[in-house]
Structure formats: structure tokens, C-alpha cells
């Protein structure tokens, strides 16, 4: 998984040098992305030739200069532009720690990246279109299920409170 994500990230950076320019001082800076509903975290370091994605335990992110925490579906929605980062922060679905300027630079760069599954995998048309279509349907279905689950939990907790 680490090798695969690192390879795709390096290819993306090589294809889109504009993204590194936009990142500015965040180049080389390790940032932890923590899906709250998964047992692991991702340590991301972006660089012109040596970008890395490291899979680690949530208690192994001490090197990170900034930490972004949110449920996995929120993180994926931020990556593909479905959700607005500020709105997720206002609603407390997204939490950040550490150097805020690094989080902001990364967020704004990802916004510009238009990071669809097809773009991340480096696919051309029409394969990118198919993958993006399948990906958005799967994510939409997952969000529906997650939303229904949350409503059920709210109802149950209301019933028992």
C-alpha cells in the first residue's frame, strides 16, 4: 500500500509541477492525515523527486508538523472537492493541529489539483472518466450509508437519553 501510494504521488507531482510551486514552504514538511475511523494514519511528505506516503500507527505521527483528523469519507470528499474544508472545520468534522499554514497550503494545493481518482492514477480519457464515474458512485453510496447510520444512532441515543 505504501509503495503504491508513494508511486502514484510521485507520478502526480512529476505531471503537475505547478502543484509544488503552490505548496511553497510545505515541500519536505511531513503532514499526518488521520482517518478517525481507521486504525492507521498516513504520513505525507511532498517533494519534487522524493515524495513519500507512509502508513503508520496513530501514535507514530510525532514527526508531523501538522495533523489533519477527520472521518475517512470526509477526507476523501475534501480530496475530490465534494466538501469545503472550512465548512468541515466550522462543523467540527475536521480537526487540525500543529502548523496551520501548512494545512492551509496543502488544502489549497489539493483544491487546485482536482484530485479525482483518474487524475491520481494518471489515467487518460476515457479510462479516467469511467474510473471517476465509478468512484463518485461508490463514494456517494458510502456517504448515504454513513448518513443513514448516523441518523439511526442519533435516534437510538435520543430514545435512550
Amino acid at each position: 500500500m505504501e509503495t503504491f501510494l508513494t508511486l502514484l504521488t510521485r507520478r502526480l507531482v512529476a505531471r503537475r509541477p505547478d502543484l509544488l510551486r503552490r505548496l511553497g514552504t510545505v515541500v519536505h514538511v511531513p503532514i499526518a492525515i488521520v482517518p478517525e475511523d481507521l486504525p492507521h494514519a498516513f504520513l505525507l511528505s511532498l517533494d519534487a523527486i522524493d515524495s513519500r506516503v507512509t502508513l503508520c500507527g496513530k501514535d507514530e505521527i510525532g514527526d508531523a508538523q501538522a495533523v489533519i483528523r477527520a472521518p475517512l469519507l470526509v477526507l476523501l470528499g475534501l480530496l475530490d472537492g465534494t466538501y469545503d474544508g472550512d465548512a468541515m472545520f466550522f462543523s467540527r468534522d475536521l480537526r487540525i493541529e500543529g502548523k496551520t499554514e501548512y494545512v492551509l497550503a496543502l488544502r489549497n494545493t489539493l483544491e487546485e489539483a482536482d484530485l479525482t481518482p483518474g487524475e491520481f492514477l494518471g489515467l487518460g480519457a476515457p479510462a479516467a472518466g469511467w474510473i471517476n464515474d465509478i468512484g463518485s458512485r461508490v463514494l456517494a453510496q458510502a456517504r448515504c450509508l454513513a448518513s443513514a447510520g448516523a441518523e439511526r444512532r442519533d435516534k437510538l441515543s435520543g430514545r435512550h437519553s
Binding site: G81, F90, R92, T100, A105, N108, E112
Partner: protein
């Protein structure tokens, strides 16, 4: 058809990146405002804004879709160092910008002198709120539009429009500021940087958040705690003007609450008041915000001349607002 709907108001939308500019154009913006990645614009945040090359490509994209591009060069040039601001004006003109939004007299003078064919809009940062002040800018620099400070009620805007002969643009959605635009130095007291000179209010390199085990989040600026949010409580940016302070046994917001403007219900009144353009705030926001807000307000403006009802689309925007709250601000002010 009502008098208000006879003249269609222009929808002016924000863009912090080329991707958000494309989202705004695709969602139906009449005009899109943006800035360069330096101290010449009041949203000088990391990862945000445009290079001249990106602006050129983006202008072409917007023009193909019938949208204009307005370039905000709206900070105040440093004494003895106006080169960066003049270069920004030259770059905007070379990129094919339809207008330059400026507040500083040196910037306005350079634009009027060197690029007379490019429209000049007076930024809200100039805080021009009297016929005399507006008259100075229109007569001296040929300013074609004034972005009004967020201090007016709707009847006051109508009265002002009767006394001036220039287009007016008003904010209708997004983050609010204390009502001394262009004159606010609060941020610089805590960080040494301000929106007027360096283009950043509450710069992110001075912001940090810390959450304790109980889920209580402290938002700090320059090491000062600006607000504390209990678990699940909607949060806001740690700007000093929206800080929650305790004194003499009372805790509350000293200047203003973390709340966003939404003037949807006043659009017809604003049209009757003679407003030419409606501005959406949020150059620091993402594509999801831009697409939702622009398409909702596109529907709302079109609704004034017989289009579909936009109420449901506008109601959905509450989730995007700072603090999860909305206000009509000074447009319906109950204070003086």
C-alpha cells in the same frame, strides 16, 4: 415585471485558485474576482492565488463562458516601494483582466495613467462611504464602480445611489469583517501583519488550534486565545474581531459573533436601491463552496426576473457559514 427586475444585477464571485475560478464560471458567475500570489491582494494566504500565467489562462476560460475577470490589487502600497503594486496592475492588464479592484491612491493613479482602457473598481478597502469620497475617486481616477463598505442599511444605499453617478456593488454572502475596512489594524496587534499592508488578516502562521480530551478546542492567534469551542459547538476563525472574551464576570463577543452574511431575502430591495452588482465573499474557500453558493445566487438573481424559486438552494448554504450562523448584517441594522 417589477421595477427591481427590469435591470439584472451582476453576480460577482470569488476565486482563490484557477480550479475555483473554473467552478465559478461553470456555476453561472457574471464576473469573477481574484488576485496575485503576493502582498498586493487582501487574501495573501499560503497555496492561494494566481501567477500571471495562470491568470492569462483563467481569463480565457472565463471569457469563453461569458464571465468577466476582475483582479483585486487592493492592499495599500508600501511607502517608497510601490513597484510590486504597479507591476501587478501591469500584469493584470497584460493578462486581459476586465477590471482592476484597488483602494490605494498610488495604485489607482498608475492604473488610470498607464491602462486607461481597463475598468477601475474601488475596493471595499477604500471605505468610501460618502458622495464626496466617491466623487473624488470617480473624478480623479475615472473609477467606474464602487464596492460599498458593509456599514449601510438598504435605505442608506438607495439614498447614496441617488447622489452618485457610478455603479455600486454590495456584498450579499460570506464572511463578515468589522466595519472599518481598510482601517482595521487588529490583526497586526497580535501578529505584526494586517490585511491592509500584507494582505492577511489573522495570518495562518500565527494561528493554532488545540483540543483537549473533553473535545474543547482553543483557537489561538499569535499565542493569544481568541475563543474556546465546546465539543460539537460550531467553530469560527480565530480573528480578533470575532474573539470571545471574559471580563467582570461576563463572557461574550466584544465586536461581532462568528457569523456569515446572507442577504438573499433583500435582493429585490437592493435592486430597487439601484445596486449594479452583488458580491459573494470567499476567495479562501474551496470548489464545493464556490459551486454551491454561486449556483444558488445565480438562481436567486434569475428568480427576480421570473426564474425558479431559489429558497431551498439558499437555505442549504447555512452549512457552509462560519459558526453555522447567518445574518443580514447592517442591511437591516437595528443599531446606529
Amino acid at each position: 415585471m417589477t421595477a427591481a427586475s427590469e435591470r439584472r444585477m451582476e453576480l460577482v464571485c470569488p476565486a482563490g485558485t484557477p480550479a475555483t475560478l473554473r467552478a465559478a464560471a461553470d456555476a453561472g458567475a457574471d464576473a469573477i474576482y481574484c488576485g496575485f500570489a503576493d502582498e498586493t491582494n487582501a487574501r495573501n494566504f499560503p497555496g492561494l492565488n494566481f501567477s500571471p500565467e495562470e491568470l492569462s489562462v483563467s481569463v480565457a476560460y472565463a471569457h469563453e463562458r461569458g464571465a468577466k475577470v476582475l483582479v483585486a490589487i487592493n492592499t495599500f502600497a508600501q511607502a517608497g516601494n510601490t513597484g510590486l503594486w504597479k507591476q501587478a496592475v501591469d500584469n493584470a492588464a497584460a493578462c486581459g483582466a476586465d477590471a482592476i479592484i484597488a483602494a490605494d491612491i498610488a495604485v489607482l493613479d498608475h492604473a488610470a495613467d498607464k491602462h486607461p482602457d481597463v475598468r477601475l473598481h474601488l475596493s471595499v478597502q477604500a471605505a468610501a462611504n460618502t458622495p464626496e469620497a466617491i466623487g473624488f475617486y470617480t473624478e480623479t481616477f475615472g473609477v467606474r464602480r464602487v464596492v460599498l463598505p458593509r456599514v449601510f442599511s438598504v435605505p442608506e444605499i438607495a439614498a447614496l445611489n441617488r447622489e452618485i453617478d457610478v455603479e455600486t456593488e454590495v456584498f450579499v454572502f460570506g464572511g463578515l469583517c468589522v466595519m472599518t475596512e481598510g482601517r482595521c489594524s487588529l490583526s497586526s496587534y497580535a501578529t505584526g501583519k494586517s490585511p491592509n499592508l500584507t494582505g492577511v488578516c489573522s495570518p495562518p502562521d500565527h494561528v493554532d488550534y488545540a483540543e483537549d480530551r473533553a473535545g474543547r478546542m482553543k483557537a489561538r492567534l499569535g499565542g493569544f486565545t481568541i475563543d474556546c469551542f465546546e465539543r460539537g459547538e460550531p467553530a469560527g476563525y480565530p480573528t480578533l474581531c470575532k474573539g470571545r472574551f471574559s471580563a467582570l464576570g461576563h463572557t461574550g463577543y466584544l465586536f461581532e459573533d462568528p457569523v456569515s452574511l446572507n442577504a438573499f431575502e433583500l435582493l429585490e430591495e437592493l435592486a430597487k436601491a439601484g445596486v449594479t452588482a452583488l458580491k459573494i465573499e470567499g476567495r479562501q474557500r474551496g470548489k464545493a463552496y464556490i459551486a454551491s453558493v454561486v449556483s444558488a445566487f445565480r438562481k436567486a438573481v434569475d428568480g427576480l426576473s421570473g426564474g425558479a424559486d431559489a429558497s431551498a438552494s439558499i437555505a442549504a448554504l447555512k452549512a457552509l457559514s462560519e459558526g453555522g450562523q447567518q445574518t443580514t448584517g447592517s442591511y437591516r441594522k437595528t443599531w446606529r
